[in-house]
């Protein structure tokens, strides 16, 4: 993983001004050991590998505690479950790194999935998937235009399109669920290649594309730059408007693909497909170590977080834990993972204060 050679440190405005983080704190009075520890950049380590490590521990614990967890069928099902949120999360990761986000992915998912399921019986699988992705891309273009051309804040613009698209989907479908169980269509959501579920392979493929875009293209570099400081990026000649517009299109495209996969997995899709999907996607991205403030984040973390959420609900299911308790568990995991960074900051600050009692 190569970080772009751009200022990507500390996008959180709360951090930069804490007294303990100003220039005085890096004075020579602070011990060598502390500086060595600080130089390790725990932020970056946690951000990149934190959730993957947690995931590894969770898998080991789950395998020890629940005998049924570690068998190939079950693992395949965990991985498959991770894909449906995961594919949309790939796009959302790029958006959040760019410092915006998209609340309309839930509505987009419903419309795209319905499109795919409705089209597949008449035109075949490939056109169905293309149509779903195209619907997503179009909605993304709409979002991007509203944010970039009309200059509505992303939160409200995508909140508006969320209501708009969800209403349109209900009107278009007349509230009915579309069904289709054609073999080559449902294979994409349910099939296996070897022992690996097809949607998971596609998820990894999407994540690889996303990582390539972020780390190997000028577009990706722009995304990081804009997320760190949009104003500075603009002054430095980064085409901010064009990039943000394209970011929203990318989110739409990935959401559309994930939606088609979900429709294929469920053999059906209706207008109220998955309420609260947008918040699940954002939760996954943020759990993966991507900063909501923008400028920092990794696709690797998003993949790990998607698998972690799927693992969590799988393990709880295997142990007959109530679906309601699962919600609590998911929320707690999110809060715990996200408070690690804040608690670490506080500890460092307290430690620094103890080092220099005079000030």
């Amino acid at each position: 993983m190569i970080e772009p050679a751009l200022p990507v440190k500390s996008a959180n405005p709360l951090r930069t001004v804490r007294p303990a983080k100003t220039d005085e704190t890096v004075n020579p009075e602070v011990g060598q050991a502390s500086r060595a520890i600080r130089n390790l950049d725990w932020d970056l380590l946690w951000e990149k590998f934190g959730i993957a490590t947690v995931l590894a521990f969770v898998w080991i614990l789950a395998a020890l505690a629940t005998p049924r967890f570690a068998n190939l069928d079950n693992l395949a099902s965990v991985l498959r479950q991770s894909a449906f949120v995961g594919v949309a999360a790939v796009g959302m990761t790029i958006a959040i790194i760019a410092g915006t986000f998209d609340l309309s992915v839930g509505s987009t998912q419903a419309l795209s999935a319905w499109t795919a399921v409705a089209i597949a019986p008449y035109f075949g699988v490939l056109p169905a998937f293309i149509a779903a992705v195209a619907v997503g891309g179009t909605i993304g273009l709409l979002n991007g235009s509203l944010v970039v051309l009309v200059r509505i804040p992303a939160f409200i613009a995508t909140l508006g399109t969320m209501f708009l698209i969800s209403g349109l989907t209900f009107i278009l479908t007349n509230g009915q669920t579309a069904r289709f169980n054609g073999k080559d269509f449902v294979w994409w959501g349910n099939g296996l290649i070897g022992n690996i579920p097809v949607p998971f392979i596609l998820f990894l493929f999407c994540a690889a594309i996303g990582a390539f875009i972020l780390h190997r293209t000028s577009f990706g570099r722009y995304v990081f730059t804009i997320g760190s400081n949009a104003g500075a990026a603009y002054v430095a000649g980064v085409p901010v408007g064009r990039t943000i517009l394209f970011v929203f299109v990318v989110v739409g495209l990935f959401t559309g693909l994930g939606a088609a996969l979900l429709g294929s997995r469920l053999y059906s899709a209706g207008p109220g497909l998955e309420p609260g999907f947008e918040l699940n996607v954002i939760a996954t991205v943020v759990l993966g170590g991507t900063r909501l403030a923008g400028g920092r984040g990794s696709m690797f973390g998003t993949v790990a977080a998607a698998i972690l959420f799927a693992t969590l609900s799988n393990v709880l299911n295997l142990n007959h834990v109530d679906a309601f308790v699962q919600r609590v568990a998911v929320g707690l995991v999110l809060l715990l993972a996200l408070s690690v960074e804040g608690v670490r900051q506080r500890l460092v600050e307290r430690w620094n204060r103890r080092q220099r009692p005079s000030s």
Binding site: N12, P13, L14, V17, L103, L146, V150, R151, I152, P153, F155, I156, A157, L159, G160, T161, M162, F163, L164, I165, S166, G167, L168, F170, I171, G175, P275, L279, I282, A283, V286, L292, A293, D322, F324, V325, Q326, R327, V328, A329, V330, G331, L332, L334, L335, L338, S339, E341, G342, V343, Q345, R346
Partner: protein
């Protein structure tokens, strides 16, 4: 009729108010039933549920934060109160319901200030946790309340409307006349400067989140009183409607500013449109479309106006 100048003045004063006026006139002309006392009372009642939580949300947004957990808090408080009414009586149950909401809000505040989790994620986590807690508490079933018609008082007649108005007055005074209110606005416009000049921003945010939680709980109580049923799935999606109403009312998401009357008018506008569409026999499905279009339209106008003043300033 209004002169052109008066219309412009009204638009500048309150775009949402003007829209409300226009929409109201249109529905009055299109349907015979819109402009009747009974119907208007219905509209006001349905507006006040969102308005109450919207007023709390206005404070949160003015302080530079969101609260995404209000829908779950509303459901949780509704369920708690419904099950407490038979045991401790109506008034104590209502008070403890509202307090439980305030407590949840205070926890939100703690997570934001002490664990330094961004409000968006902190309240997102609390959204699923509190919703789960409400569902666990009710075991996914409905809680019915038989024979306790005093509880119904909370949702009948003018009570919700009066509550919303009282809260609006209270919050206006709070924001305009008290130190706490000024601290909220200071925290929202620049938390760092506010801290530097001695505002205890943590305490401010605890207070704000507790207030949001309490208003959310009050909305939840009214919702549950309307049907005399407590349900863990109550008020799903209330958080985004509440934010939409606040934004429609002209409170900017950037923080530091609040428009209490705007929030009232915004929730009234949404309720009027939903009501009018119902009276016109338009499918419920169109209500979301109009809400979306309203939001986008309002913000487009605002963006265009900002653009114009900017151009005029630079020219």
């Amino acid at each position: 009729m209004l002169s052109k100048r008066a219309v412009f003045a009204l638009f500048r004063l309150s775009p949402v108010g003007l829209t409300l006026l226009v929409v109201g006139v249109v529905f009055t002309l299109l349907t015979p039933t819109f402009l009747t006392l009974n119907n208007l009372l219905n509209v006001c009642t349905s507006a006040s549920v969102v308005a109450i939580v919207g007023l709390g949300m206005t404070l949160a947004i003015a302080s530079g934060n969101f609260d995404l957990s209000v829908g779950s808090t509303a459901a949780f408080a509704g369920c708690i109160t419904m099950s407490l009414v038979p045991q401790i009586g109506v008034m104590p149950a209502i008070v403890s319901g509202v307090l439980s909401g305030g407590l949840i809000g205070w926890v939100n505040g703690l997570i934001v200030t002490e664990l330094r989790v961004p409000a968006f994620i902190a309240t997102l986590g609390m959204l699923t946790i509190v919703r789960g807690a409400a569902l666990i508490y009710t075991r996914g079933r409905d809680i019915y309340l038989f024979g306790k018609t005093e509880y119904k008082m909370l949702s009948s007649g003018m009570t919700p409307v009066l509550l919303a108005l009282a809260l609006a007055v209270l919050f206006s005074v709070l924001l305009g006349q008290t130190r706490f209110g000024r601290h909220i606005l200071a925290t929202g416009s620049n938390i760092i400067s506010a801290r530097r000049v001695g505002v205890r921003t943590s305490y401010v945010l605890w207070g704000v989140f507790a207030i949001v939680g309490a208003t959310a709980a009050l909305s939840g109580l009214i919702l549950s009183a309307q049907v005399l049923t407590g349900n863990g799935r109550l008020a799903t999606g209330l958080e985004l409607s509440a934010i939409a109403v606040v934004v429609l009312g002209g409170t900017p998401l950037t923080g530091g500013k609040a428009s209490i009357p705007g929030t009232l008018l915004g929730s009234l506008l949404v309720a009027v449109i939903n009501n009018g569409l119902n009276l016109l026999n338009v499918s419920v499905f169109y209500q979301n479309v109009t809400l979306g279009l309203l939001l986008l339209g309002a913000l487009t106008l605002e963006a265009l106006a900002a653009h114009r003043t900017l151009n005029r300033a630079t020219a």
